[in-house]
């Protein structure tokens, strides 16, 4: 924190909920450096203003996916969201927990069903570099020079795509973007049994091509592209079977 820089005053309006009590918002006015991240400010609210504030966080650099939340109504990974990008000096930042997940406390949501489903489609966390695609189906460009390297997959399981999905909003049974993307990444060729999971009433066909999942994804997974790719694969399979 350099002292030469101008500081901003920002009002943080934070969603609060404890136990069975009704929810409300608490206001905190903080002096912030505009180049800080939203998560830094939230951590400071906890450290210096209200020790009862609960929020999920771990890595602070977008590899763990724990700190997904709504910043002014938009799904953000708060650890890489600069304050200067979402508010102005003197402005207000409204912080809410992710949508479409049950709230446990304040900004903490229950993601057990989400992880259940990720496990169901066997979303792979460590993948061969040659298997991982960066958005749009483009191959990762990093050099491999013939050797097979393994890497942690792009999907950090933050749940932002589920929070942004309007279909998940009204139908929690819908598997949702991250899950379908996980199935696509795992591959119908590798795991033919995934067909049954994705080609069901709450699977692939519930997507209405809104593309919000891809818009909010902080990790270039491009779930919407993966859903469309999965549709293409399943459609091709179905039609082939019809004419055989």
């Amino acid at each position: 924190m350099s002292t030469t820089k101008t500081k901003w005053n920002v009002n943080f309006k934070v969603y609060r909920k404890k136990g069975q009590n009704p929810s409300h918002y608490d206001q905190f006015t903080l002096e912030v450096d505009p180049d800080e991240y939203v998560l830094d400010a939230i951590e400071r609210i906890w450290a210096f203003h209200d020790r009862s504030l609960t929020f999920r966080h771990a890595c602070h650099h977008s590899t763990c996916g724990a700190c997904g939340m709504l910043v002014n109504g938009v799904e953000k990974l708060s650890c890489i969201t600069y304050i200067r990008d979402v508010v102005e000096d003197g402005g207000t930042l409204v912080i809410d927990p992710m949508r479409n997940f049950p709230v446990v406390s304040d900004l903490v949501v229950d993601m057990s069903l989400f992880f259940d489903r990720l496990e169901m489609v066997g979303q792979r966390q460590v993948v061969p570099v040659s298997d991982e695609t960066i958005g749009d189906g483009k191959k990762a460009q990093s050099p491999t020079n013939g050797k097979e390297y393994l890497r942690l997959s792009d999907c950090i399981e933050c749940g932002l795509c589920i929070s942004a999905c309007p279909i998940a909003a009204t139908n929690p049974d819908y598997l949702g973007p991250a899950i379908l993307a996980g199935a696509q990444q795992n591959g119908l060729d590798r795991k033919p049994e995934l067909l049954q999971i994705v080609d069901q009433e709450n699977g692939l066909w519930r997507c209405h091509s809104v593309y919000e999942c891809t818009a909010v994804c902080p990790s270039n997974v491009d779930p919407a592209w993966r859903i469309m790719d999965l549709r293409r694969q399943v459609t091709a399979q179905r039609l082939k079977r019809l004419f055989r």
Partner: protein, 391 residues
């Protein structure tokens, strides 16, 4: 006979690994943390699965721990590790001179290394500084910090451990003799306060151990030493790239998912609960990182963050203090029974720290149960959320 009851304070690396170890040894475990899993130093670790090469010259004790644990972790928790190896590269004459000590040190610590010509190294990693003078291949790796902790926590949970997250310890419960018999906690999710009793309380709060021991009126020699790390937006390498020299600032660049992460610095702080990211350190990381991988200069910054190492001991500066760990039985150190403190160490040695702690606990409680964590594979970290009591 009912199970011996252990309370573990802290759900960072040491806490979850100790929970796993003690659960396997038949303990009834309750883990409490004031936040979620790995919300402090552990989650913000650089993510380097050390081969030990970094400490092979100046801190052989740590180096040996690292290479042993590196091998074990690759075996028991492969689902959270990028096992692609690392390179130590020399850029100037000082680095070259260090190279001799490095070879000797690695040999002494049984760290397998392979010398590469600069051409070979550049073929492996084309984004390396083209002016490197020498390179050594070592068995480094990268892990996902949160998922590494979750895998231990999940396995502990599957063996019956209970996790009370977002639950802050507000005090220790002492009996008439001044021995610790339990803890007072505040559940921050519903604002309830209650007490938990146990046969032993393990203080595994890393850099924060002093806050817990202070509740018993005692002190441990701990020097919290934060460091800054910076993540960049492109995966420029598959190997961990280390500067072939004494550990210093910004001398490691790690691949992680679609990023590279440069670290670290070393400084000291007073207030542990909020340590600001120092801007000059961020600039330094960019400069030093670019000496190893020049392409970093043309890559967008993705995030800057810091973590507070729990370094042991007093005296000496942050870089010269050993990275090893220590388990304090407060019966021996201060005559207080029922409390054990584990701190120091590195992420890579989390399992060994847990083994040591569990040994101390078993010895104190007169329980003979062998450590099996070297062999037992961990279950998927996702099971932590799927098992009941799940956030």
């Amino acid at each position: 006979m009912s199970k011996p009851k252990a309370i573990i304070i802290g759900a960072g690396f040491t806490g979850v690994a100790t929970a796993h170890d003690l659960a396997l040894r038949g303990f009834d475990i309750t883990v409490v943390d004031r936040g979620p899993i790995a919300n402090g130093t552990s989650g913000r670790t650089h993510g380097l699965l050390h081969s030990g090469g970094r400490y092979a010259v100046n801190d052989k004790e740590s180096a040996i721990e690292c290479i042993e644990e590196n091998t074990i972790l690759r075996k028991i928790v492969p689902g959270v590790i990028e096992p692609n190896g690392g390179l130590f590269v020399a850029i100037n004459e000082s680095d070259m001179a260090y190279g001799e000590d490095f070879i000797e040190g690695c040999e002494a610590c049984h760290i397998p290394i392979e010398e590469l010509t600069p051409q070979q190294a550049l073929r492996l990693e084309p984004n390396l500084n083209p002016n490197i003078l020498a390179a050594f291949l070592v068995p480094d790796g990268t892990f996902d910090p949160l998922r590494l902790a979750m895998a231990f926590a999940a396995t502990a949970k599957s063996n019956g451990a209970k996790f009370k997250l977002y639950t802050e310890v507000t005090g220790l419960i002492l009996n008439g003799q001044g021995n610790v018999t339990g803890i007072k906690v505040w559940d921050r999710t519903n604002d309830e306060r209650y007490e938990i009793y146990g046969d032993i309380v393990v203080n595994a709060t890393g850099a924060w151990v002093g806050e817990i021991t202070a509740m018993a009126g005692v002190d441990v020699p701990i020097r919290p030493t934060p460091g800054v790390m910076v993540a960049f937006d492109q995966r420029l390498t598959h190997h961990a790239i280390n500067r072939l020299n004494k550990p210093g600032d910004g001398d490691i660049v790690l691949p992680q998912r679609q990023m590279v992460v440069v670290g670290t610095t070393s400084f000291e702080v007073q207030d542990l609960d909020y340590v600001p990211v120092i801007e000059d350190h961020v600039k330094l990381m960019l400069e030093r990182g670019a000496e190893l991988l020049p392409a970093i200069k043309n890559t967008n910054m993705r995030g800057a963050y810091m973590a507070t190492r729990p370094l042991l001991g007093s005296g000496g500066s942050g870089r010269s203090i050993s990275r090893t760990f220590k388990c304090f039985d407060h019966k021996e150190t201060h005559g207080i029974d029922g409390l054990v403190t584990i701190t120091g160490g590195k992420a890579t040695t989390l399992r060994a720290m847990a083994e040591k702690t569990a040994d101390v606990v078993c010895e104190k409680l007169n329980i003979s149960a062998a450590c099996t964590t070297k062999e037992v594979p961990l279950i998927s970290y996702r099971e932590f959320y799927r098992l009941p009591n799940n956030y």
